[in-house]
């Protein structure tokens, strides 16, 4: 009976439910007039938002230049594909992840002594710096035109799998696998001793230091992990759009991910960023299909959201105790 109970608890585990929802997503989306490419974008941005929330919701650090890491992932993917190879199917993806991870570590090393608004402004400056480097370094990044004409490598696992990703549905479920891995890893990290330290750093960094934690390294590592997964999202985005643009790194996109994460309830829920990115992107897509003045409506919607429920969608749900997730986030 205990075995059955364990299986049951795994089935109703919020992660499983989330994955099931996302698996059904592309089939449901057309009902509200959405195209599968929107679903893909939501999924990729969800990875990005989860990565972002490791910093914001769990470590209490607001990065205002996080779009840079999305962009670096895209460029890492593109550059590997263009200059190295597209024959090893995972190489460009890995390049996107590693490039971003390395730079995120370096940035984290520089900024992790600070916190609060100081920290945020530093991330903004660095994010813009990276943006302009991408925008101006024509020889490497293609400058304003970016790097285009990318391909989606064919997945070849000898003897097991040969997958052509040019089909949107296939690509979606490929991304879903990576999303599942990312969500799982991030969930485990958050619920580990390391994750617990991040959360007390958010609540009271001074006390955490008095306990004996060298908070500098925790913040730095948190930033690096966030960078790695942001890089994955960026690489996937390059795969999705077949190109890498400097525009991906512009600071407004950084603001967008902060918005998504907060509106969804990232400050108090692991799944908040997912709700937020789905809401943001679907809303934008729907509204812009009706009117070219979607920015006005989005602006109004967000103003209302911020003023009326600042704790975000899932934050509100948590407060009304509608959903009791076992151990979901601190």
């Amino acid at each position: 009976m205990n075995g059955l109970r364990k299986v049951l608890s795994l089935i109703v585990h919020p992660l499983t439910v989330t994955l099931a929802l996302f698996a059904a997503f592309p089939l449901v989306l057309p009902l509200i007039g959405g195209h599968i490419s929107l679903a893909i974008e939501v999924l990729i941005m969800s990875i990005f938002a989860l990565a972002f929330n490791l910093l914001l919701g769990y470590t209490g650090l607001t990065s205002f230049g996080h779009a840079a890491y999305l962009g670096l992932g895209a460029y890492g993917f593109a550059l590997c594909e263009i200059h190295l190879t597209d024959r090893i199917w995972f190489a460009p993806l890995l390049s996107g992840i590693l490039l971003t991870g390395i730079i995120a570590f370096l940035v984290g090393y520089v900024i992790s002594r600070k916190r609060g608004v100081y920290y945020s402004l530093l991330t903004l400056a660095i994010g813009q710096l990276i943006y302009f480097i991408a925008f101006r370094w024509n020889e490497v990044t293609g400058g304003e035109t970016g790097l285009t004409g990318l391909v989606r490598p064919r997945i070849e696992i000898p003897g097991i799998l040969s997958l052509d990703l040019s089909n949107a549905f296939t690509f979606y479920y490929f991304v879903l696998v990576l999303f599942a891995l990312s969500a799982l890893i991030l969930w485990r990290i958050i619920h580990s001793p390391f994750g617990a330290v991040l959360q007390i750093i958010k609540q009271n960094e001074v006390r955490a230091r008095y306990l004996g934690y060298n908070t500098f390294w925790y913040k730095c590592i948190s930033f690096t992990i966030s960078g790695l997964f942001s890089g994955l999202a960026g690489a996937l985005y390059a795969m999705f759009t077949y190109c890498a643009f400097a525009d991906y790194l512009y600071w407004i996109n950084s603001g967008d991910v902060v918005m998504m994460t907060l509106i969804g309830g990232g400050l108090s829920s692991f799944f908040g960023p997912l709700a937020g990115s789905a809401f943001f992107l679907i809303a934008r897509n729907l509204i812009s299909s009706f009117t070219q003045h979607w920015m006005i409506f989005m602006g109004i919607i967000f103003v209302i959201c911020i003023l009326i429920f600042p704790e975000g969608f899932l934050g509100v749900l948590k407060k009304t105790r509608l959903f009791r997730f076992r151990g979901s986030g601190g």
């Binding site: 390391f194 330290v197 009271n204 006390r207 008095y210 004996g212």
Partner: protein, 249 residues
């Protein structure tokens, strides 16, 4: 060699000399109270001693080794813990979790990324001992922010104990407490002083006179008097510094 040796510590903020050449020696096992009017520099002294602020001049030695410029996060491993004047616990966590975080640090499990936090038995098993030591039984699952102020002060102390310290710096542990809670805190401090060296900053003279072996009086960043409780009680300089003061005998 003194257990704790503070030599000529000084710190200025802008034009203000918050700590102005403080020298202090503490023997192992002693309970020394530091008293003085507000703004005398008592909390700043603790901040300087524990690496939270860098001194302009002076040095701090612990068991013969210099610790002056060590960062805060190294204090716990040396066996130096501190409680705080203003509430400084992890308000979103339960009592159990608060204490667990301290033990986790003490046992060095901070960098485990993939083990389940709940699964670490050796950490879990040490929490009840601390809860019992401070008297918070029955409140393990209460969130710190839902606890009474008095319980929070005790929790603050409990967290400080998780590092298995040999030295406790207590910063106004009874401030804001009601009479009964103050009594509880005094008992706890007395119990702890049997095994630990304690430096106590306090305003409540009842507390000070009932637990201290030695009293140091600070005013405007300097030590103006030092000695056994009876000596201090009779000391005129001290009475002057406390004009209209806080003698609650």
């Amino acid at each position: 060699m003194e257990f704790i040796d503070v030599q000529n510590l000084a710190k200025s903020f802008g034009g203000l000399r918050a700590v102005d050449g403080i020298s202090l020696q503490v023997k192992q096992g002693e309970l020394v109270s530091i008293i003085g009017p507000n703004g005398a520099g008592k909390s700043t002294l603790f901040n300087l001693m524990t690496g939270y602020i860098r001194p302009d001049t002076g040095a701090v030695y612990f068991q013969g080794k210099e610790i002056t410029h060590l960062p805060v996060y190294k204090m716990a491993s040396l066996g130096i813990s501190r409680s705080f004047q203003l509430l400084n616990v992890f308000s979103e966590l339960t009592v159990f979790e608060n204490i667990r975080m301290g033990i986790q640090a003490h046992l060095g499990h901070g960098y485990q990324f993939f083990t389940r936090l709940d699964g670490l038995k050796e950490i879990r098993d040490r929490v009840p001992a601390i809860i019992e030591r401070v008297g918070l039984e029955g409140k393990e699952t209460a969130r710190a922010k839902d606890l009474s102020y008095g319980d929070n002060k005790i929790l603050d102390m409990a967290i400080a104990l998780t590092a298995d310290p040999t030295v406790l710096l207590l910063d106004e542990p009874t401030s804001g407490l009601a009479l009964k809670e103050t009594g509880r805190m005094i008992d706890l401090i007395r119990k702890l002083s049997e095994k630990l060296t304690i430096l106590l900053v306090e305003h409540d003279m009842n507390v000070v006179f009932s637990v201290s072996q030695r009293i140091v009086v600070m005013s405007q960043g300097r030590i103006i008097a030092e000695g056994k409780p009876e000596e201090i009680r009779r000391n005129e300089t001290v009475q002057e510094a406390y004009l209209g003061g806080e003698w609650k005998c």
